[in-house]
């Protein structure tokens, strides 16, 4: 509340020149700004990643109206008056707008455009106090019992607060337009230029010694009634500067590293300006950050570029022992390259070409499909390689990473099938699964930083690259076997010939064996890791059980086949259920929220998970019934 009041007070002090339309900076300049290092959520990242994370958090999108996230963030930071009218606040439940007393169907004056789900700060402004009240009420409710609108109120309120806090990060370098210093005595004492009529906090801070002299002189007088107007103004100014610092400290942009070569304590620029150690270099860097802000507002792109370089160099020089600080340029380039997005396009092309090849039997289509597949695969592998390089970790450290990795392994396994069969089936399944998993990865990527630091117990590259990779490779094997199982059942239903069915059955069984081997190895290596970390091999933790379910189910299917209890149809149906087992191990256990491995899980993802289970159940019922009827028909 204190924070909000402070922001509202300062809102009036900050200048507003909403007439300006901002021309974009040259690409080179924007890239330099994008590469500026900062500390967020425990790791050093470029401003570019910070911007993407925040825009994603606010709007659910990585760009704003075609504008790169970093450009939008630069506008928030350096010329915030231009972003108030941008519809960036995603509101999933319109009931919240009603509760806030905000009109949803009408564009408010100054708003850039009207959207049905995203609203500008200007649009929400009349209901902000009500939103605060709703958020406070929601805070009182047990998190387990909060309704959708209550959760939404908390989320949107938190986003609005963050936005307004980011808005103020460089307020110290902006003109305090409401401040008038007309008294000639104080103007002379502070050494203000005759034609200067507006001042920034930085201007005043530079004149703090002169201000202190005036105040000392005033304090020497016994009766405050004897103070001159200049002395009274000096006290008002000092109080205002104190309030400014107090209210705008700890804003959420840790831009500058405090201690050289020491612990990674990074501070927002205003706090750096007043660092208690009186670190001159840090103060200078904060001033440079302020100059960057001013230069951006004045479209002085040369200075922006220069100051961005200086800040980056300062941080890299101070934090040369923290690997990520030197890699912010690389991370920003990785973000820009969008390898996984490009891979999706090529996989989609491959999918259609392979589908065409399968349906028409045209060899040329099948051979052509290899070209986009090769490019997509290169993008996929390069993207994973970049992530490994940037994080100095194996490819899988979180759920997002598992989808990238499993998608790749599924693709490679399918290509192995294609290499043997040369009929387009491997290209079709591989591109389909890789594409699907890259889309699912996008959903998980929207949850936050995908290259976040791992907790102490997971910070072991040895176990991350053995247990985790083995078990996820197992997921891939069982999953792709299940995809072949789906195809086999559909072909059987369509009454395809024995040879066609055999072409699907053989890889299906082989891949299931591959999946079982790696799922078993991964599960047991998990036990070994648990033994190394916690002193027990097996604890029936949900994630352990999930992996065990895959192993057990696959073993059931194999043994039932050997025992003659099931035949081809049962085997194919078993691999389809194997896919469900994989999903339960992979995502389902996170729904339970118990055990040592549980991660966060959103309602939307839970709905997606149950939707998937329902789909598989319906698929099996439909296709098995269909096959049964067909067989009965043939028998008659």
């Amino acid at each position: 509340m204190k924070f909000l009041i402070a922001l509202l007070i300062l809102l009036g002090l900050s200048s507003c020149s909403s007439e300006k339309v901002s021309p974009t900076p040259p690409t080179r300049t924007l890239r330099k700004v994008a590469e500026i290092p900062l500390l967020h959520d425990g790791r050093v990242m470029p401003l570019d990643t910070f911007s993407r994370l925040h825009l994603l958090q606010f709007s659910g999108r990585k760009t704003f109206d075609g504008e790169p996230a970093v450009l939008w963030m630069a506008r928030v930071l350096f010329e915030p008056e231009t972003t108030d009218s941008d519809p960036v606040f995603l509101i999933n439940h319109p009931e919240l707008l009603d509760a806030m007393g905000v009109e949803r169907g009408e564009k408010v004056p100054g708003e850039r455009k009207l959207s049905t789900r995203r609203f500008s700060f200007t649009h929400l402004r009349p209901g902000i106090m009500k939103l605060e009240e709703l958020a406070q009420q929601a805070q009182q409710v047990d998190p387990e019992e909060r309704g959708l609108v209550e959760k939404e109120a908390l989320r949107v309120y938190s986003n609005v607060l963050t936005y307004r806090a980011l808005y103020q990060v460089f307020a110290y370098a902006r003109d305090l337009t409401e401040l008038r210093l007309e008294d000639p005595e104080i103007r002379e004492a502070l050494g203000l230029e005759p034609d200067q009529r507006t001042y920034t906090f930085l201007d005043l801070k530079a004149r703090a010694p002169a201000l202190a002299d005036i105040m000392k002189r005033a304090q020497a007088k016994e009766d405050p009634a004897e103070w001159t107007e200049a002395e009274q103004v000096a006290f008002t100014l000092a109080r205002m500067m104190f309030m400014f610092r107090q209210n705008l400290s700890n804003l959420p942009l840790n831009l500058l590293p405090g201690a050289p070569h020491g612990d990674s304590i990074w501070t927002p620029p205003l706090d750096a300006l007043h660092n208690p150690e009186g670190d001159r270099l840090l103060i200078q860097a904060a001033e440079q950050a302020g100059e960057l802000s001013r230069a951006w507002a004045e479209r002085d792109w040369k200075t922006v570029s220069e100051k961005a370089d200086q800040i980056t160099e300062f941080s890299r020089g101070r934090m040369d022992h923290v690997r990520e600080t030197a890699l912010t340029g690389a991370e920003a380039r990785f973000n820009r390259a969008n390898y996984f997005g490009k891979a999706k396009v090529y996989y989609l092309l491959t999918f259609f070409l392979a589908l065409g090849a399968l349906l028409s039997g045209a060899r040329v289509l099948r051979l052509t499909a290899w070209a986009p597949l090769a490019v997509g695969l290169l993008m996929h592998v390069t993207g994973l390689g970049w992530r490994m390089f940037l994080t100095a970790r194996p490819p899988v450290t979180n759920l997002y990473g598992t989808f990238l990795f499993v998608g790749l392994i599924c693709l490679l396994l399918s290509l192995l099938v294609e290499a043997f069969q040369k009929n387009g089936l491997g290209l079709f399944t591989g591109s389909f699964v890789a594409l699907t998993f890259l889309f699912v990865a996008d959903r998980f990527g929207a949850e936050g930083d995908t290259m976040h630091k791992v907790v102490a117990v997971l910070a072991s590259n040895f176990w991350l690259s053995t247990h985790v990779l083995a078990v996820t490779t197992g997921y891939a094997g069982v999953w792709i076997a299940g995809i072949f199982g789906h195809i086999w059942l559909v072909l059987k239903f369509l009454g395809k010939d024995k040879q066609t069915l055999e072409n699907v059955r053989l890889p299906m069984e082989g891949l299931l064996g591959f999946g079982l081997t790696f799922a078993f190895l991964g599960t047991m290596l998990g036990g070994v890791w648990a033994d190394q970390s916690w002193g027990r091999f097996w604890g029936w933790d949900p994630k352990e059980n999930g992996a065990l379910l895959i192993v057990l189910w696959t073993a059931v299917v194999y043994h039932a086949k050997v025992a003659g209890m099931i035949r081809e149809i049962g085997m194919a149906a078993g691999t389809v259920i194997g896919c469900v087992m994989v999903m339960m191990a992979w995502l389902g256990v996170n729904l339970l929220g118990v055990g040592l491995h549980s991660y966060g899980f959103t309602n939307a993802m839970a709905a997606g998970f149950f939707g998937y289970i329902a789909f598989e159940a319906l698929f099996l019922v439909a296709v098995l019934t269909g096959i049964r009827f067909k067989q009965a028909g043939v028998g008659e």
Binding site: A459, G513, L516, M524, G535, V556, M584
Partner: protein, 375 residues
């Protein structure tokens, strides 16, 4: 005889066991949501039988794994000749037999306990997280020597006695999780109030908790040979041991406490260090610098940290967690285990995985050859 072995070696029995284990694993996992891991373990995984839906007796995982073990052994004996042609299969079965045996051995002989140390503090005993004992000693605050009887060995009606003492105890009530009842909370106070350090006159059982660490057991004992007590109630709420005056003169002290294990070393915490990722509360690293004393003259400095435990003579010491007291003192908590069969699952994993890889490669190879021949 041969027929019965073949029955045990039935692959249909394997399918049934594996399928039922799948069901139990799924059921037990879902059960954890409302009842916690411990209760799920007790009901589904550590049991021979359990009641499904409250009234249907169903086989628990212990029984199924036992049957599976016999089935595996039978299968191994009956089909070993085929095994030479399918070496992968043989390795898989050997590995799984080892895995089941190792698990059983660990369950029967393994010890799990904790040692909690403040900086500068040292200990040579570990305390169980889940097991309790009744300790018996000559002195009020005796650390050692003392005698003890495990609470898990005591049943209603059982009698026990300690060495060098005429005192005899008979168990009247014992509960793994219970609460004590004071005289004030009873409408009619008992005619003969038992002695209790916490002032309880009766005990009553409570439903089990989600985690066994939270259990507070209680026991009511009948005492023979003491002049100051005919009945005793012991609970974890007792702040001090109960003093018993012997008829033959002298006294002894009894107490219900978490079970102690004597360690083969004396460990002293020199320093506890923890670090977080900057600006967050996400733990980056925590570690304990300890001095291990193995006798009068032998000592060594050891660092125990996450994923890097310290091992000695079958005992392993893991960095488990830490606590900070109100006066900002830091306490490091170590998980301590003794498991002589620790490496068995490691070997079993390697052998089974190798077997699986060999088997599936062989099967694929054979199928490819068959197809080529046909083509």
């Amino acid at each position: 005889m041969k027929i019965s072995i073949r029955h045990f070696a039935s692959i249909k029995l394997t399918v049934f066991c594996l399928f039922w284990l799948t069901v139990l694993t799924f059921w037990g996992t879902v059960h954890q949501v409302d009842h916690g891991i411990y209760q799920a373990q007790e009901r589904f995984f550590n049991s021979m039988f359990f009641l499904g839906f409250g009234f249907i007796p169903l086989p628990g995982a212990m029984l199924v794994m036992g049957v599976l073990f016999v089935n595996l052994m039978g299968s191994f004996l009956v089909h070993y000749q085929a095994g030479w042609r399918m070496p992968g299969l043989m390795l898989i079965h050997i590995g799984l037999i080892m895995m089941l045996l190792g698990g059983f051995f660990t369950k029967v002989t393994g010890i799990e306990a904790t040692v909690s140390l403040f900086e500068g503090e040292g200990r040579n005993v570990a305390v169980s997280r889940t097991e309790w004992e009744i300790s018996f000693s000559d002195e009020l605050h005796a650390v050692q020597p003392y005698q003890a009887v495990d609470l898990s060995d005591l049943r209603k009606g059982k009698t026990f006695q300690f060495r060098d003492s005429e005192l005899r105890f008979r168990v009247m009530e014992v509960y793994p999780h219970a609460e004590g009842i004071t005289a004030e909370s009873l409408q009619t106070p008992p005619t003969m109030a038992p002695e209790s350090a916490a002032g309880f006159v009766a005990i009553q059982p409570l439903p089990k908790m989600k985690t066994p660490e939270d259990h507070t057991p209680a026991i009511r004992l009948q005492v023979e040979g003491a002049t100051n007590a005919e009945q005793l109630i012991l609970t974890p709420r007792d702040q001090r041991p109960m003093g018993l005056e012997l008829e033959e003169g002298g006294g002894r002290f009894v107490m219900l406490r978490r079970k102690r294990y004597e360690l083969p070393l004396f460990m002293e915490l020199n320093e506890f260090r923890r670090s977080y990722y900057p600006g967050t509360e996400v733990a980056q690293d925590y570690r304990s610098l300890i001095t291990v004393r193995l006798g009068e003259d032998i000592s060594r400095e050891v660092v125990i940290k996450m994923n890097e435990p310290f091992r000695l003579n079958g005992w392993t010491f893991y960095q488990q967690s830490f606590a900070v007291t109100d006066d900002n003192s830091e306490m490091s908590v170590f998980a301590v285990t003794r498991n002589f069969g620790r490496l068995v699952p490691y070997w079993a994993t390697g052998i089974t995985s190798l077997g699986l890889a060999m088997h599936f490669l062989q099967v694929q190879w054979m199928q490819l050859r068959r197809r080529r021949k046909r083509a």
